[in-house]
């Protein structure tokens, strides 16, 4: 599947064309929602974060560079929005201080409720959240190392390490399911 929106649509969206913006929204909403859902572990919060992400995209549409990959930019906004949401929830004590680091026992209701019942889905919820983000961006969203480094604001080597360690942790967790 093509991972990018046409340059013409990006130019129109940049100029404030709502039809072009709606096309971008339709193109990326599912990917952004799934990414937010995996980080926030709550469909309601993931919906809020996705909506907020696209409203920010529209508000900052002048920053769209038709020559560049808009996908990386949108995912960077989504990542920051999820962090902001987690911070605000923590301030209001709506989630525990370590919500991002919740264990399988805390999040089991989330993935079962959402229908994420395969072994890999369950195992993903048990690994370090930083590794999980890198793995999701690499495998589920199809980003390159450089793009993940931009989105997560970390060096490329750290991204590679996170993916490698994430896979190791996943293998360990998957052994428990096959055993």
């Amino acid at each position: 599947m093509d991972n990018n929106v046409d340059k013409d649509i990006l130019i129109r969206a940049q100029a404030g064309d709502l039809e072009a913006f709606e096309y971008i929204l339709s193109f990326y909403e599912k990917r952004i929602y799934n990414y937010c859902l995996r980080i926030l572990k709550n469909s309601h919060n993931a919906k809020d974060a996705t909506q907020e992400t696209f409203i920010k995209v529209y508000a900052h549409r002048k920053l769209i560079d038709p020559e560049k990959n808009i996908k990386t930019w949108i995912f960077t906004i989504a990542t920051n929005t999820t962090y902001d949401l987690l911070r605000s929830k923590k301030r209001k004590n709506e989630v525990s201080l370590d919500a991002e680091f919740e264990t399988i026992s805390d999040s089991s209701s989330y993935y079962e409720k959402e229908g994420l019942t395969s072994d890999i889905d369950k195992a993903l919820e048990q690994i370090n959240p930083e590794y999980k983000k890198a793995l999701l961006l690499f495998y589920q969203q199809g980003f390159q190392y450089e793009e993940i480094a931009d989105i997560l604001e970390m060096p490329i080597n750290t991204v590679k390490t996170h993916i490698k360690r994430g896979k190791e942790q996943l293998k360990d967790k998957l052994k428990n399911y096959s055993a």
Binding site: E22, E29, Q51, F54, I120, Y139
Partner: protein, 121 residues
């Protein structure tokens, strides 16, 4: 390919919740209309200020004293009162009020045009 890679390539994706797309488009439409709404409300406030100023300057200060004067001058409050009230009414319809009415009308037409462009184009 490592079996773990194969599994990772098959991570499930969930469908977007109903209403999310529409919510974002509603918000974005509103954001686009914000400057129009700001212009219309500014025009309404300007209109209100003009009307208040006009009533205060022309009707209360000038016409009310005229009315009282007329009342005492003719010693008959029947016709003089009606004449003064009618006179005051026609005094109110001044070029300033016409301008403010035109401004309001322009604001309403502008908003209507913008909204129909947003929702029906």
């Amino acid at each position: 390919m490592d079996p773990i890679d194969e599994k990772l390539n098959r991570i499930s994706s969930l469908e977007v919740p109903a209403g999310m797309h529409q919510f974002v488009m509603r918000k974005v439409n509103y954001k686009k209309l914000q400057p129009v709404l700001f212009t219309v409300f500014s025009l309404l406030i300007l209109n209100f200020i003009v009307v208040v100023w006009h009533i205060n300057a022309k009707l209360i200060d000038a016409e009310f004293t005229d009315m009282v004067q007329d009342f005492f001058e003719v010693f008959s409050f029947n016709f003089s009162f009606i004449n003064t009230v009618l006179g005051s009414f026609f005094e109110i319809i001044s070029p300033l009020l016409v301008v403010s009415a035109v401004l309001s009308l322009c604001g309403i037409i502008y908003t209507g045009k913008k909204m129909s462009l947003q929702y029906f184009s």
